[in-house]
Symmetry: D2
Subunit: 370 residues, 4 copies
Amino acid sequence: MTLKLGMVGGGQGAFIGGVHRMAARLDGRWELVAGALSSDPARAAASAADLGIAPDRSYSDFAQMALAEAARPDGIAAVAIVTPNHLHAKVATAFLRAGIAVICDKPMTATLPEAEELAALAAETSVPFVLTQTYTGYPMVREARRMIAEGAIGAVRHVQVEYLQDWLAGPVEQSGQKQAVWRTDPGLSGEGGCIADIGTHAVNLATFVSGLGVQAVLADLTAFEPGRRLDDNAAVLLRFDGGAKGMIWASQIAPGTKNALRFRIAGERGGLAWDQEDPDLLEFTPLGDTTRLLRRGDGLTQTPSRIPSGHPEGYLEAFATLYADAADLIEGKGLASTRALATAEDGLAGMRFIRACVRSNGAGGMWTAA
Amino acid sequence: MTLKLGMVGGGQGAFIGGVHRMAARLDGRWELVAGALSSDPARAAASAADLGIAPDRSYSDFAQMALAEAARPDGIAAVAIVTPNHLHAKVATAFLRAGIAVICDKPMTATLPEAEELAALAAETSVPFVLTQTYTGYPMVREARRMIAEGAIGAVRHVQVEYLQDWLAGPVEQSGQKQAVWRTDPGLSGEGGCIADIGTHAVNLATFVSGLGVQAVLADLTAFEPGRRLDDNAAVLLRFDGGAKGMIWASQIAPGTKNALRFRIAGERGGLAWDQEDPDLLEFTPLGDTTRLLRRGDGLTQTPSRIPSGHPEGYLEAFATLYADAADLIEGKGLASTRALATAEDGLAGMRFIRACVRSNGAGGMWTAA
Amino acid sequence: MTLKLGMVGGGQGAFIGGVHRMAARLDGRWELVAGALSSDPARAAASAADLGIAPDRSYSDFAQMALAEAARPDGIAAVAIVTPNHLHAKVATAFLRAGIAVICDKPMTATLPEAEELAALAAETSVPFVLTQTYTGYPMVREARRMIAEGAIGAVRHVQVEYLQDWLAGPVEQSGQKQAVWRTDPGLSGEGGCIADIGTHAVNLATFVSGLGVQAVLADLTAFEPGRRLDDNAAVLLRFDGGAKGMIWASQIAPGTKNALRFRIAGERGGLAWDQEDPDLLEFTPLGDTTRLLRRGDGLTQTPSRIPSGHPEGYLEAFATLYADAADLIEGKGLASTRALATAEDGLAGMRFIRACVRSNGAGGMWTAA
Amino acid sequence: MTLKLGMVGGGQGAFIGGVHRMAARLDGRWELVAGALSSDPARAAASAADLGIAPDRSYSDFAQMALAEAARPDGIAAVAIVTPNHLHAKVATAFLRAGIAVICDKPMTATLPEAEELAALAAETSVPFVLTQTYTGYPMVREARRMIAEGAIGAVRHVQVEYLQDWLAGPVEQSGQKQAVWRTDPGLSGEGGCIADIGTHAVNLATFVSGLGVQAVLADLTAFEPGRRLDDNAAVLLRFDGGAKGMIWASQIAPGTKNALRFRIAGERGGLAWDQEDPDLLEFTPLGDTTRLLRRGDGLTQTPSRIPSGHPEGYLEAFATLYADAADLIEGKGLASTRALATAEDGLAGMRFIRACVRSNGAGGMWTAA
């Protein structure tokens, strides 16, 4: 049986809503039946019609939607929140209070206090809350996590993550490009620019794969583009629980890079390296031996996926895996540790990371607890 | 509005049916509402229930399904044929005759005469017939086709295609592995082994991208695995209309390769190279200039896709594009030339290619018209 | 002690002579002390002076040089022949007859009869004759040869070689470019163009690594550039002794390729792949296991080299290894089988390969004994 | 005419001396005629004999050698210093005072005071002093430097350098491996381990290519291997003159890496990326355009090299280029800015970098002037 999904945000002209819908559809576990797709009633209705949502389940007010859907016997099992970031907290709160599971795009909230409240509410209500940390849905990322947890490379020593893009090189926001405008506006994005938008993915990946928590950060944040009010380049040193070290270079002004998220991990008995733009491959080197190319779906690696090795899976498949896992979670099936979905606690950790980086940077570069 | 889809084959335990369903779902253009998922009634019913198909639209007989669906006012707009190959012709014939569009997995038929009859029927009925030549759904394959058509590399001189796998290295069929058993059995697969299973993809890709027809082939086919009755390795020389040359190495016994489908094309004014295992990238070299890395979705290439550059799309997205194109075709929307779906004529060309290769090989290596 | 080297050809303005000199110098095993660097006496003398060759050992006539050096107590131990191809046979003959070892650039001769005579003379005189098949000097090529000889991939089934360049795309010879002029002139290069210039390297690499002889070839040779009199693109099917198959695509009109010599070998129990433009790496896949990246100098591979893994060695080092091996050979030290230098017999095999390809092509594509 | 070279250190059993000799030989500009190859007289003499050095020019005392060679009419033009690091300063001082040019392996000295004295002496004497910062000899590194100097990527914003090795993962020094023993001993290597051994190469590369000086560093140094007394992993943040930022990850405990020195530079109008293990390639992306693959020797790039594109040059060629440049320098030929050899000032900068990193780390991570 498919689960019923609602969506807040994602109306005509929006981007990430479409990605969530493709992800939700891929495995046939979800059916989109309700939505508050826009705060503009006409646009909400038109968007709902495009998507085959019945008129009586198209809402223009998310609070009303939460109440109405909670009251229906055939109400939605979960809501996908794909609004601008500053609305995430309010929308999530409404649905959690209504007892409806939340699948929330990242970052979880715009501010740290909001994140703290939301994490507390999620804990209090015990309603499932899933943050779509997309990159943790890649099979070879999960394979790496599993391998490290099982000791394949021994204790982790250094975790290096790069997350590079080039779309904010140049004064893009001045041309009115919508994605650039809100991402460079502290009023809409909060105190972090690049460090929030992609730095949080980098640190989440580091902790997800290594299994280690971040103890402290030291950040050097720069807004290179003249007039830009939020950082577009971030250099961060990390100290993990237990003594491991790490570095993140996150940049949105690195020409020639598109979505270059990569990690290399040095452990005491081996190393692992992965690149999001070639996601089916994981390089594994046991100490003192040759490097092996582990491939998704090759019958030798253990993390399940949809199609055999050599038939590339990509970003949408990783995203879809989060939706499939969320379906299992909501249906009460247990998730293996490598399928650990990001929770409100993880979202809060991400907001704390941003806060710590901004504070460290503001202090001229000081180690700051994360 | 979504289009209604039926499926023949693809019941519990089958593989390619699930791939078609994911592909059909991704863009939300199709809804699976009917099926003859198995010739075994109990299995058909159970499979239908799994997929949310209403009991009255679950059939165990495809011929009955064709008639019943054609008669319903809410009947299916198209049927996906995902049976074993030797049934393709019969099933497709039933649905074409019922006036229902066909989306058929490749190869089109098991024998050349069947392919000739089916192509004639498709022409006669004018009912849409789509062969899922998956690799032509990749955006950068279409970009290459567009570039060549527009003269970016001048006249094509040489087209090199490799299609390498290793899953048939070793006596796999003797262990009862189902995929291996039927692919190495002339009774189920016809006269071609590797040349039919993947060689046809290679030649289809060559002609799709270059825009050139194959005039003649010269093939050296080998069954390396002891006791194997169909070729598992194929070396083919090609001559295209207009004087271009080409080569195909197709192998299913090349250790270290998974689904290594690649082309390199030399034109009089430039070159192109593409690798299915890294499908978002297209290497383009204008003669006398540096090589450029063209990337799907980067705002500089012209073929549309779903998500931005750096967020990998893969095999399922390419497959889904064929389903989206098929939806447009059935809805009467025109398709641009780069979206040209494979037709029954293309399927027939593939069967002629197999025949020509087998004859050339049988003659000890003679140029044979394709 | 260093060995004394002479050189015929390679005067001011020449190219390959300088490569031989760098190769001879690198390991300090050779000292250039004599030369007939040009047939023009003034240019010979000036070239000799540039290179620090004493005036009394600068010759303008190679025959005289052979006699004079043979008569000296401190005469040269070997001569490097780096003249245009059509002179190789005459020069080599003079020095072999004088009892002086020959290190000859490839191809060995311009014609097959010359090659036959020279091979016979080398056999008769037992004077060392080394043909500089450069690519066999790469450590990872030798590692591959060793591995195959020791059974690492079982019996060889298919050998695929590509050798691609783009420098002859376009009517380069019409602009007077010297390298292009002689390579496209049957009077200076013999009956083969691309098939002789680089195809012979490809087939030599195939046989060197696989340890198999070529039984027959089937070639499709094309001169794509208008007005060109020798082939610039060659598609060749191979049959090896013992039943292995192979293919060579050699092209000098493939835009975007520089010196793209690569092989992939499928064996019954594993596969190997190598690329001359990334020569320190060898991909090895045991059947049913993950691909391993073998690296030159990493302490795990067995073929010796000069510097540790990660410090790239290249073309000149491979060439220098031939000179070092030649020194060992002349000094009477045995060579391990993986260091097997190409002999006059190998040069003759190369000439026979050209002949067979040209004949096969002339017959419209027939299997022809090699 | 060749220049006469002497060598101090590099006797039988040593490693880097042999590399210097190959580098000096490759282009035929130098002849090794004198040496104090070992402080042990017997070993010095035997080593000299191996290398064809006349007995009267084999010394066991470098100070005596400096005086004797300076006094000879045919004395050496330069001395190569390849002793253990702690002797560099003394040897260099002796030869500079004798008026003999110095080609010194890096690091320049073991301590900062020594470096300051040596730099002062070099300035005072005006005798040429060349530090072999090998990686600056790579043609594509020089091409990058030239491009940046000419504005190809606009103002530099971020310089990322990784230098990764794995040979010190595990307690290698406890097994007595000679290279590991001295590199992990503060008494022989000074206060820096990895940061000194390879971090200095990384920072030198960053400044050479970007043309920017390092203003301040912030370092997190770790000795991960139990009992190791010097850092084996270094995470460093950089601030350059003019506002550019940077990061270095240098590690000798990163399994799967051999000599992985790479940079990526983000400029306001473009980006560049290079990898020492694939040194003939330079990725260049003009802002808003496709990435181009610049290749050494392809006729489109401007930095000279020895052999054409596609014929790999490597580490020894880069090293040899420093020797060829040193010959030009000593012969009074001017060097273009892209051939700028590292001087004693550069060596001093490297020692200051080590000092600053160690101090920054000692202070718990503080920005420290470099």
